[in-house]
Amino acid sequence: MIRWSLVVVLSIAVVGLGVWGYQENQDKNAVLIQAENSYQRAFHDLTYNIDLLHDKIGSSLAMNSKQSLSPQLADIWKISSEANTDVGQLPLTLLPFNKTEEFLYDIGDFAYRTAVRDLEKKPLSDEEIKLLEELHAKSGEIEEELRKVQNEVLSDNLRWMDVELALATNDEVGDNTIVNGFKTVEKSMDSFESSVTEVGFGSSGPEKDFRDLQGENLTKAEARKQASKWLEKVDTEKLTLTKSGKGADVPTYTASFQEGDKNGYIDLTEKGGHPLTIMISREVNDPQISLYEASEKAKEYVGGLDIDNLELVESNQYDKMGVFRFLYTKNDVRFFPDTVVVKVALDNGEILGLSARDYYDYHIDQDLNEPEISLEEARSKVNPNVDIQEHHLSVIENDLKEQVLCYEFLTTMESTTYRIFINASTGEEEKVETLKKAEMKFNQEI
């Protein structure tokens, strides 16, 4: 009797387990199919968009009237951006595919710049047409290769989940058809890069990297001394010093120390020993000093840098920290790219961080042209609906990554503040920024 009831109970348990296991398996499969489907969607979207891109670039080459060319270029810009988004949704991060992504970006960039240009006044140059032809040919190659992959995916029921698995385990990557297809696409991009740079445009933009660093190269001992000077005179023995690898934009020494709960970190350029990044991390208590006092400390601190004429342009309190942004100025012209940021603890006014990387990266000692238009002329270019409150002369980096001299106007409309830049030689409106407002707090604590 007991044995029989035991048998019954056990069989029920076995059947129950089986049903449960089956359902779990079903659920898991459903999730996998879902993930696979979203990969498939991104992939097929991508091939479609590349197809379209190739066609559109082709027809733009055949176009003659400016009225149809501008919208066409705008269309190309949009499609290349969509194609880039598709790439971002595929598990390709561990696959070398960046040249193709940059290629898509370059197409978009080129199309945007030419689409917003007045083609009546400044039609496409011969070089630009040549570049367009090149883009057409390259996008054709990508299209063909992707179509091939797509065909195989469809006929052999290839799954992107397998690609992901292959990339994750790094196993037999060579045998995966999809991976091979994308590698071929990437390889075909090799020849493209050089022709892009010839025309003088590309995702990299003009060289800006630390052109104007002054000083002699530091030895390790000197670097230690310099680091200690910036890190509160910490004993040079306590500093860990390393040198940057070959991937760095500019050779640097990195020094760091750990003292109880406090740790410090500094990046110094090898040439000249200029501090790029300083960070000191410790527990910060409730604010005791005002943002104004902190800003005075920050001003005093940047006085110790070898940079003259830094002007405080922005201060912000973030919880227990004050963050202050300084701009380099010369003859009352403010250089927006040349920024230095300082972070001050509001509990005792100690400097907790400095970032001068942007300054050293962008700064060049250049002679500025005098503005060609007067302040009044520039003023007349500003939208008449805004009230002009303040004006300055400033240098900014425009869309084309060129440094241009502008009249800067701080203006208000309703309760919003806008910063408007009018080019001081052409009178063009280079840039209009909406200055941020504070954001309402939500329930969460930030």
Partner: protein, 277 residues
């Protein structure tokens, strides 16, 4: 400080009977743009009382408050510098009434309110619309004074919202919570460098959720509750700190499975992570 104490005596509730609470003045700090806190609430309320300031009384000294203060300085013949120093505060306190109890109560109850002089209180308060989403934190400062009240708004770096920062803090915490602080800032900086780069998606969320980009996203560690340090690291990175040296990739040499990542030109190692181009 003596001056401030003296100021309190100067002001008595004026003819306007609706102002019930006695007023007490600012603290001794010079208030400048970007500041947050109690003094800013009072500054905004007083400027609004005089009709210079039409924005929300939220305790954050933004551009709206800045222009209002400058206009006030202009009208009252003071130096126009946008700083609320002692002289400015004296003039303000003299010219305006500040019903601290009323203002603090409205802020605590999360109501939409104004503080114009000569307008009855009943017309200055609106019921919060829908669910009161901006309930203030904590119960500090119930009777005006005592513990300082929290402002109802926060400064956020240009181009980012609190939620963006939260999402990035999640990613940083999931990826680098065992790392030194600098290492966390560097990871946040890599996310931002990727947003800027041509070969990655153009938004922080696009970069974070790119398939296979971050292990913490793949294995769900991104949904751990981040600590304050991770948030601070994100804020530093957004404000311009980049200890990674403009890196686009990083990996842990002990666990990296991809050979390709070793071919990238390396910049430096911070903690367990090697950062590369």
């Amino acid at each position: 400080m003596v001056v401030t104490a003296g100021l309190v005596l100067l002001i008595f509730p004026l003819a306007d009977g609706t102002w019930s609470k006695p007023v007490h003045g600012f603290s001794s700090q010079v208030i400048q743009q970007g500041a947050t806190g109690d003094d800013v609430i009072e500054l905004q309320a007083r400027l609004q009382y005089l009709g210079f300031y039409n924005g929300d009384i939220d305790g954050v000294f933004g551009w709206g408050t800045y222009w209002a203060l400058r206009n006030f300085q202009y009208e009252f013949g003071l130096d126009i510098d946008g700083l609320a120093g002692q002289e400015v505060k004296n003039k303000l306190v003299k010219a305006s009434n500040y019903d601290e109890g009323y203002v603090k109560k409205q802020i605590q109850e999360g109501k939409d309110f104004t503080h114009y002089g000569g307008v009855p209180k009943s017309q200055q308060t609106k019921q919060p619309s829908g669910q009161s989403s901006n309930q203030p934190q904590g119960q500090g400062g119930s009777e005006g004074g005592g513990q300082p009240d929290e402002p109802t708004a926060v400064n956020v770096p240009s181009g980012y919202s609190q939620n963006d920062i939260q999402l990035m803090a999640n990613a940083v915490y999931g990826e680098a919570r065992g790392e030194p602080y600098v290492g966390q800032v560097a990871v946040a900086a890599v996310i931002l460098n990727r947003v800027q780069s041509a070969s990655f998606p153009n938004t922080a969320s696009g970069v974070i959720f790119e398939p296979r980009a971050f292990t913490a996203v793949a294995d769900g560690q991104i949904w751990l509750e981040p600590n304050d340090q991770a948030k601070e690291a994100v804020m530093d990175a957004i404000n311009g700190w980049d200890p990674s040296g403009q890196a686009l990739y990083y990996f842990n040499p002990n666990t990296a499975t991809s050979d390709w990542i070793w071919t990238r030109p390396q910049i430096k190692q911070i903690g367990k992570h090697i950062f590369c181009k």
